[in-house]
Structure formats: structure tokens, C-alpha cells
Symmetry: D2
Subunit: 291 residues, 4 copies
């Protein structure tokens, strides 16, 4: 089905390295660049070579997540030198299928990129779905570490019923917690109820009682001082929403409520799984686009 | 129902302190001794007093788990001085209902103990059952921390289907792992199958495939070099069996298999829950014995 | 919140009667018409009165699901005479809030209807979500009755991962079946996998093995002779898709494969729950529309 | 491992026939007697032959569950004539391994039986465990048929936490019911709680609220008029305990509470699974006894 037989992986963190391994295990040729500082983990790949070489031998090149943090250089924390994103870099990769996260920030770095050859794996729904698993598990790991009781038997609130809220509620229930889930839409509340959780209408959150552990997944200021005072005085609060999050951290601190703002969990807690997710997503794109 | 209205808690760790709090929350008078080094956590109790005073005011005295580690002194890690277990101590507590873990080691310390007044909460089945929860969660927390992938989607083996094996399999399944459970008895294998796990007959353990995460709960040398080589080469192994455990740690090290020997998890991972478990067990005894 | 205090329920089956009871239990005045042939069940309502009277006393009038079967008369199977849907009927209900299923077929029966006063409860997402529960349970009841083995331990295929597929897979899994779910979209397959089911890509359905029980939820000819021959030779097939369904029933018969085309399950298997679902949906509309 | 290669199956119901098929599928020679009235289902076996022939060709003979109902004849409801249990029958089977349910009632029918050659499969723990599955599913099927609502969202009580209670609670929970389980022992209540059900101490059953569906598994008069009046006025009651059961059926009738006394469910609801369970148990005996 797939005609491609060689992959170059340039830059990224341990996730990308885990991805490289799983691609190599499938029998493809894999070339690495930008991993010099992980040299001891690279045995089977014969080390991390120069970008030129990786580009030369690879039909596909996979760039990291995100592709850049400063808009100028590749996001390559384990490289021994910077890898500038410029016309030279784009020229080097001409004619290759490029996979990256946040395609737009790559395209801005040079006019030489052929945007039809660049594919974004981060905006694929299946990657987002799968990524909710390490995020939810990471959140549970934090809760287990910080909470003085057990999840089993505790009263947990999950604010928000998007991908992460769905997975988290399912796992907490599987551990034996009493799970409350807050949402706004009536049909989300219907799902919450029929799946065996306690539905909490967002508008009545502050009157829904006190919790042991609160997980926020909503990127909006839901847990302000008022709501915290009514629900969280004996709880720990774990915020999974991206910056600035959905918790009034200052008020929480003042009230003595322990909080954790847990971000970018997939790469941190489960690089192996995260790498496999990225790989599977890229292979889905290759299949659908008939590359 | 219960006529007792005052409890003395002498010695022990944060579990005993958590227990003290939950007893006090129920409205009983609670006196503490042997917690001077946790002074800042004792606000509501007015501090940790002398043993004589605690003994004087309490109808029941709760001693720690285990009651002694050296056979001579009370197990009181947060006390500022040793509390010897001798005739004086026994005399001081005469006429009180005494609750402790490992009653026999207490009785050996003095002939003055009235064994009809001493109750062992550790050998109660319901405490053992409830304690399997923090043990299982603690094991999962270790797995989440050490394993590079997610529990969800991983292939886990739980060796042994006693209390801890049962709870652990249930929780791993609830997180979305593929759960294999090994046992010897046919009817245990029946339960394993009907609960949706994969049954593995102990006698065929070495031929049951390779795993991502292995949890041992059996206090016998099950994971010797041979079994490790067939099942664990790409796994992490978490041993929950009491010393010396059920894993050949030397061979594992030689093969590069990461291992964790996780002991005494309840007190470490969930002092609050553990304290409540001890309290509930003691109250069950009080009720049944009509004290 | 809700200013309405009187409801008229005209026509419908046992669901509507169950709905009437739960509304009355909430303390509202409830008037019935078109239920003469269920007279013995109507005790608390003082019987089924003339439509004129019900109309007179009610602020809201709830019409059945569907509102009409022939386009001319109200769907009132337990009425002792036909209730024509004409200008007279529309005039009688003027000024009332009307709730019905399939609003358009009602509006066609007279020009006197004020469409701003007519609300359709069937097209509400939360009703569709909740209705998937009696549908899924009804399907399981059929499977339990027809299949010679137990659901626990059986190998089940759920074709389609819409509302009904999601609920059905969850319940079958909860009973201990091995659950395969087929879908087309990659992100649906991602959900299927992470929830612990076996994902089957629609395109590979015919190669996915043989099943014990097959549930189809997709309204398209998925189970043609070819697919049946590869997956269903030892199975029973339960089709939940609306007419004409998704199974080649003739071929199935020829191959000796037992089939059940199970339609309109909610009203049949769980009139009480179905009535409560309709009631809750109507109350959601009243709240949102501030009636 | 197993040296036996031929099985005779004499008498019994559809379970025994299902068992015969699964043994034949494993490649063993199987001979049948006492199934003349199921002739049309016997195609692959070449019909149901005379007992003498079956005895002649079989190393093992499997007798039904129970082996006799009247103490005089074999339990063979599909035989066209009676098969007396007497010296002739015992002589015919001399030298064979005999498997039956309720060994004692067989041994009483003749002094010629060699009790070392007769094995009872019904008193094996793994059969009892597995049989709780069709019993629990059968109970759920009854509940689905009789209850006007859905199991999902209903409030169910399971009285008793033996094998059937455990499986039933697990399945009801998997369907999304709110599950209460009553028990007497503290450690059973501990298990009930940690598995996520609501524990009800037997002594407080009558004060535990009202239920939608009540399942009794305890063979003792638990649901007397008083308890029924406090818990079951709006419930249906399904009694799974063997005669006389644990429900005061007369009082229930007087109070208008629907009841079902559901007995011998495995053979009725799932002959296929029940047959496989018997077969697996017999094969376990063969293996353990090294026959």
C-alpha cells in the first residue's frame, strides 16, 4: 500500500525518538538528526547524523511537535547545535514529504516550502483523541501522588466533557471513584448520566457540593474564588487547561487549596505511547493521501 | 450503640494521625502521645501530650501498626523520645481496651497485659480487603511513573488472584489495559475469565507471551531467570510480595529488566485512607464485641 | 423557573401515559385525552376526557411520537375513536404551547397552526442520546433471548459507532463480552481502541473473523451475502437500522443465519423510561425557551 | 495429556447435546443415547443409538444434570423410552469412567457401581462459578422483560454476595444501574464498597430505601412482608434462590408487587454455554485425575 520506504526524523524530544524506533521496527529505513545529546540511546540507528545526510536518504521527513518554539530554529532540544529554519533548510528538504506539527509556523520560515508537500499531524482528530489518553493518565498520576487518600472511594469532579474529560471520567470510574462531570450542553449531560457518572450543569457547579479531587479541562476561568470556596476547600485541584488555565491560582493559594497546573503531559508521562500515536497518525495520512 | 467516648492514640505514623482526625470528626474525645515531631499538624488536638495523660483520659487506646519494630519499644517514629514497652507501660494502660496490630508482639513485652482487653485490628479480614486498595493504587502509581507508555493499551500481567490481585486486575482493566491474571486453582481461573481478563494457568506462565508491565503479588519465587527471560524482556516488573518477594532481582538486573520492590504501600501512598480503614475496623470490633 | 402549571396529553401509547404520570408526580395538573382503551390504568387521572376539555384546561399540550401515522389523524392507538388533524383541531389548541414529534407533519394538517408555538421534541439531541439506552437494552434483551450461549464470553460485533453503537458497545463490554466495533473514521477507531474494544475498519469487515452475535446500527447495506458468509455463519444477526435495514435478510435466510430486525425498541421495551425521557426533553425546551 | 478418546453421552437436555457437539468439535468420538426426540438436531452424530452401543464404544460416559429426578430412571427428557437406573445399567457401564451430577443418587441405584470410577462434576467449584454467569444473565433477561424501565439508570438491589450476587452486581453495574448489594460479613461489605457498589448491611435492609428491581440470591426468608413493604412497593422482585426461595410470595401478591421465581436458569437461557461449562469441568477432572 505504502510506497515510502525511508524516513528522516529531524529534531524533537524523546517522543520523536520513540517514534523513530517503532518505525524502524516496522522495517523502514530511518535516519536521525538533532539527537546528538541522546547518543547513548541511539545504538540501533548508528547515531544522529548531519541534516544533509538525513535529507538525502529519506523520502519522508518528520519534524517535531511543535516544529519550532521561537519561530526561527527547529525545536531540537537534544541537538548539539541550533538548526535554523530558513531557505537553506527548506531547499534541503525540497521534493520530500514533510510531516510536522503546526504547519503554518513552518511555512512562515521560508517561501521555498511547497505547501502541498507539507502535512500537519497535530490537527488530525485521531491524534487529538489518542493524546487524551496520556493526558488523562498523567493527571491521574499527579492525583495519586498529591492526594493523601486513594482515588478509589474518593469524590472526583471532572470539569468539561471534551476528549480529555471523557477519557478521564472513564478512567476514574474504572478506578472506583465517584465521578461527577460538569458540562453545559443538555446532550453532554445526557451522555454523562447514561455512562453512570453524576451530571453537574455548569450553571450549578458552585452548588454541587465539595470534592476530594477536581480536574479542570476547560480553558476558561471556571474555578474562580467563589466556586473554589464552595467546592474545593478540602480538595486538590489539577488544571489540565492550557495557559492561563481555568483556575484562580492566587485565590486557591490564599485558601490553602493545593493546585497543580499540569501541561504537555503526553510527552512527559508516556513518550513511548506518544511516539506511537504520532507514527500512526502519519501513516494514516500517507494512506489517505496515497503518498 | 457504642458506649466508648474517648480514644487515646499513642505512637505510629501519619496513618494514625489521619485516623485520629477522623475519630475526632465523629465527635469523640481524642488524646495523642508520641507525635511531638508532627507538632505543626496537631493544631486541633492541642498537641501531643505525655503518655500518662493520654492513658488517664482514654477508655480505648490505639497502638500503631506494627505495634513494635524492635520488640522493646513502641513503634513511634514521630516521638521525640523512645516509649519502652515494659511492665510500666502495661500497668499504665490497665483497664483500657487496647487496639493494636500484631497483638502477640505486644503481649510478649509484659505479663501484666490482660489479653482479653487487647484486640488485633490487623488480622481482621475487612482491613486486609480495604488495604488492598491503597496497595493496588500505589502499584499503579509506580507503573505510571516508571513505564514509558500508558497503562491504557498496555499488556499487563498480574501474578496471583488474592485480594491485591483482584483489586489490581479490576483497576488495570478500568484504565483500559489488556489484563492477564495468573492463578493455579481452576475456580480462580474461572473467575478471571468471566470477569473479562485473560486467564493464565500458573503452570504455563513462561509460555504466556511477553508483557509490558508485570505485577507480582505471590510471595514465592515465581519470576526466576527462566520466566523473566520468556515474559519480561521488554517489561517493567513491580513486586508487591513481602520480603524476599517473588522476583529474582539479580537475574532481572543482569537482563536489564527494570524492577521495583514496592512494600508497605498503604501508609506511604494514602495515609488518609489507611487511617480511615484502621478506624473503621476498630469500630467494627467495638460493635461486635459490644464494648 | 417554569411558569406553566397544566399539561394536556392527547394521544400516543404507553410511553405518553408514563410521561403523564411522571409529570403529575412533579405536582403539575395533567389532563388526558385519547386513552379510553387504557381506562383501567388511568385511576389517578380520573379517566381520559374529551379533547375539548383537555384543551381548555391546559397551557401546554403534548402530542405523540410520531404525531400522525397516516397524515390525517392523530396517532392515538388507545383512543376509542379517531382524532382528525384538521382546522378544528388546530383551532382548539390555539394559544397553547404544543409539543410533538415530527412537527412538519403536524403543520401540514392545517394552516391555522402558529409554528412559533409548536416545538419538536424528537429532533432534540438529548432525546436521541437518551433513547439510545432503551434501544441498546432492547437489542441485548433480544440477543439474550435468541442466542443459545451467554453474552458474557461471547464475541460480539457492533457495526457503527453512532449513539446506539456507543451505548451498545459499553453495555456489552459491561456484561463481559469481547466487543468488536466497526467504523470508518480514523478518530472513531481511535475511540473504539482506547475504550478497550477491538476496532474494525469498515473496509476490512469481511476479513475480521466470525462472530457469535452481530448488531447492526448502520442504515446501509453492510451485511450483504458476501460479508454474512465471512462473519455470520455461526452468528445471530440483530439489525437495529431503520427500514430497509442494513442486512440482506434473504441471503441470511438462505444461509440459515437467524436474524431479527428490531425496530422502535424504546416504546416497546421501556415505556416508563421512554416517557421520562420525553418529559425531560420537553422540560428542557420549556426552560431554554423561557415559556 | 488426555488418553481418553471416546465419550458416550446418555440422557439429559439440550445442554448435554451442546456439550456433545463441543466435545466432537475437539476431535473426540462421541456416541449418544436418549436423544431420539431431538433427532433433527443430531445430524452430525448419526442419531441417538441404543445405550448398549454407546456403552460399548465409549471409554467415558457422561450422565445428565441431575442424573435422576425420580431416583429410579435416568433424567432423559428427550428419550423415547425410560432408561431405568438398575443393576443392568450399572453392569453395562462397568469399567467406564462415569461423570454425573449428584453422584450419591446414582450410587444408590445399584451396588454394582464402583464409586472410584464415578466422578461428580456438579460439586466442582469452577462449574459453580461458571454457572453463575448464565444464572445472572437469565435474571437480567427476566428483569429486562418485566421491568417497564431500563436497567440503565435504575436502582437495583442484589441481596447476597455469593457467586451469583458477585456476577450479577458486576453485570448490572456494567449496564449502568445503581447497584446496592446486601451482605452480612464485614469483609463482604468491604468488597462491595471498593468495587463501587453501595453496601447494605443485612441488618439494615428494611431501612435502605426503595428499589426498582430486587434480585434475591439468598436461600432464606429475607423478603418477608415487612421488608417488602419498606423496599419493594414500586419494584419487581426476582428470586433466584432455590425452593422455597427467599421471598414471601403471598404477601408480595397481596401488595401488588410483581415477582418471578427464576430457577434452573443455566440450562434454560444458555444451553450452549452450559454445555461448554460441563465439558470443561469434566476435562479438568480428567486432567487432574490423570485418567
Amino acid at each position: 500500500m505504502i510506497n515510502i520506504d525511508s524516513f528522516g526524523i529531524i529534531g524533537g524530544d524523546k517522543r520523536q525518538l520513540a517514534m523513530a524506533k517503532t518505525i524502524a521496527c516496522d522495517g523502514y529505513s530511518v535516519y536521525l538528526s538533532g539527537f546528538q545529546r541522546l547518543e547513548q540511546l541511539l545504538g540501533t540507528f548508528g547515531g544522529s547524523g548531519p541534516v544533509e545526510e538525513t535529507a538525502l536518504f529519506s523520502q519522508c521527513v518528520i519534524l517535531p511537535l511543535p516544529v519550532t518554539k521561537d519561530g526561527k530554529n527547529l525545536n531540537a532540544p537534544f541537538s548539539d547545535k541550533k538548526i535554523p529554519l530558513d531557505d537553506d533548510f527548506a531547499k534541503l528538504l525540497q521534493g520530500k514529504y514533510i510531516f510536522c506539527a503546526m504547519k503554518d509556523s513552518l511555512l512562515k520560515t521560508s517561501k521555498l516550502w511547497d505547501k502541498n508537500m507539507v502535512f500537519d499531524y497535530l490537527n488530525r482528530e485521531e491524534l487529538q483523541v489518542f493524546n487524551s489518553v496520556p493526558t488523562a493518565e498523567g493527571a491521574i498520576e499527579v492525583a495519586m501522588r498529591e492526594y493523601l487518600g486513594t482515588i478509589n472511594g474518593s469524590k472526583c469532579l471532572v470539569a468539561g466533557f471534551g476528549r480529555i474529560g471523557k477519557v478521564l471520567a472513564n478512567m476514574l470510574n474504572g478506578l472506583g471513584a465517584t465521578v461527577y462531570v460538569s458540562a453545559r450542553k443538555k446532550h453532554d449531560l445526557a451522555w454523562i448520566k447514561l455512562l453512570g457518572y453524576e451530571p453537574v450543569d455548569n450553571s450549578g457547579l458552585q452548588d454541587s457540593g465539595e470534592y476530594d479531587i477536581i480536574f479542570n479541562t476547560v480553558p476558561a476561568m471556571i474555578f474562580d474564588a467563589h466556586v473554589l470556596a464552595k467546592t474545593a476547600l478540602n480538595a486538590i485541584v489539577i488544571d489540565l487547561a492550557s495557559m492561563p488555565g481555568g483556575v484562580d491560582f492566587d485565590s486557591a493559594k490564599r485558601m490553602g487549596i493545593p493546585t497543580v497546573h499540569a501541561l504537555s503531559l503526553p510527552g512527559k508521562v508516556a513518550p513511548k505511547t506518544s511516539g506511537e500515536i504520532i507514527k500512526n497518525t502519519i501513516f494514516n495520512i500517507i494512506e489517505e493521501e496515497k503518498l
